[in-house]
Amino acid sequence: MAMRLHEYQAKRIFSKHGIRVPKGEIAETPEKTREIAQKLGGRVVLKAQVLVGGRGKAGGIKKAESPDEAEKIASQLLGSMIKGHKVEKVLVEEALDIKKEYYVGYIIDKNRRTPAIIFSKIGGMDIEEVAAKHPEEIHRIYFDPLWGLQDYQVRTALFKAGFSKEEYSEMFRIIKTLYEIAFKYEAELAEINPLVITSNGFVAADARLNVDDNALYRHPELESLRDATEVDDLEREARLKGLNYVRLSGEIGIIANGAGLAMTTMDLINIMGGKPANFLDTGGGLADPTKMKMCLEHVIKDENVKVVFINIFAEITRCEKVAEGIILALEETNRKIPLVIKLVGTNEELGKKMLREYAERSNAEIHFVDSVEEGARKAVELSKEV
């Protein structure tokens, strides 16, 4: 998994390492936007800070000719939704005088199992399209992760691509810097698209930096950027609790242990005509009942949830611990939500017995099923009843 940084966060890092970015500041209010626009001389670009692709086409990037206009646009952008993401911040930047647009990116090629630099003289637009239609315009440098990116490799690729003398040294420096940033922060992706050529040199008009979640313990300075990168409150909360949770728009809550099992549960619910409210992979640690309690509590926090399908293949975890967790969560909630449960593992009969007894004494609605298919069907049926 990668932690994705916002454009303004990535730009700060790029800039700190010597890659030029447009002058600009972040604003959370229209008034502040006006102030920044004034400082920048009036003509500015407003960029919604949301972590979605195709932000420009979705109306998240706007030009303003004056501080008045900037304020007006900001009042429309701030608080609006772009592809399901709420705009909480806009980046206000000087308008660039664009002569040309290039593309430079760093990525780990999972197939070749090596890092790669990719660059092109065609940037700004849909780079995927360029890659598909004009593969000869996309230049790649694959390099050894232990040796690192060598000067001669960059030189060779740049000469092959036919860069002019003036552009060559800037490109060389930017590629090497991007590589250094990527390795320093253990990035999965570092990208400048477009890299804009102005009369004053090269400027990173956009910036993207996705870093490896698993390596964050080696980069504590990045951890503090994280909170700003999540949008959904329930997703943010889930991450703080260490849960692998993705919010969806339906009404059937899903709790499963293992990503594959959770995805299959989601698929079967969809196939049977239901709408999942979330995806939740509990991960390990179910031996402690508080883990299951936390998962169930979290899923039913979503008010759209009408029924929850709990699909646990407990392997070595004892089922009575899972049952205990479910009961603890039910005891503490005021919501009356039917549960569909598929529980497999050590002491599964004991676990089911505990749940059955609890359901009787507290009037909770619990349905036990023997297959994932049966569970999905039952959950879909219940979601349409209530």
Binding site: L189, N210, D212, A215, R218, L248
Partner: protein, 287 residues
Amino acid sequence: MAILVDENTRVIVQGITGFQGNFQTKRMLDYGTKVVGGVSPGKGGSTVHGVPVFNTVEEVVDATDANTSIIYVPAKFAYDAILEALDAGLDLVVSVTEGIPLYDEMKIQKKLREVNSKLLGPNCPGVISPGKSKVGLLPDRSFTPGNIGIVSRSGTLTYQIAENLTKAGIGQSTVVGIGGDALPGLTFVDILQMFEEDDETKAVVLVGEIGGTAEEEAAKFLKKMSKPVIAFIAGKTAPPGKRMGHAGAIIEGNTGTAESKINALKDAGAIIAETLLDIVNKVKKMI
């Protein structure tokens, strides 16, 4: 025959004195796996469930006839433990640990090109040849000896699929979890090739997931395979938009989606199962 592990597999457990290592050693011994030694730096000379503990992999390899290692050490130290095992010349190294940093994994990949050892994982449940040997944390109850090979990127989903087959009276030759990491050691292609050459395996169930290109790569190999393959892809209805930026798209093109994987596998001659129970039905028809 079976693949990867059998009666002749002699295992060492790296991290044997840790909670997981200790517990899983007991479970492997109970299953009949030959666990010949353990490694725990500073605890050499002690025993765990009767298994002698050594300070280093080099020592345990010198002292025993081990040919396989399973590693139960935390993510921060897994990189070093994996390199230690690979440099000791073991045939197979199984890495269960989840959450190993990508840059560590890239270096491990580089090492794998220099040695003859194979790496299963990281972030995998291991491998079982039912009735013969288990190197990993797969639950015994789900498996029974037979002629179906299973190779999967998942854990619990694999157990569920195996258990469904077992309940239907269909046994397995070997069940391999290649793990969910972006940079795995053994891949679908490696395992399919082994199943193709294995006398005991009559058909293969391939369990894939959305993301990455492992299934598309597998499809390329399927064209050369004579044994039937039943494929299942998890995540068919996952919402789109989880791709990793433009550069990712450039490398992967349109691959990575469930549709791309299913089409590639279908074109290569695989039988696609829509649901879990459908897997059982389609396997039944094959044998």
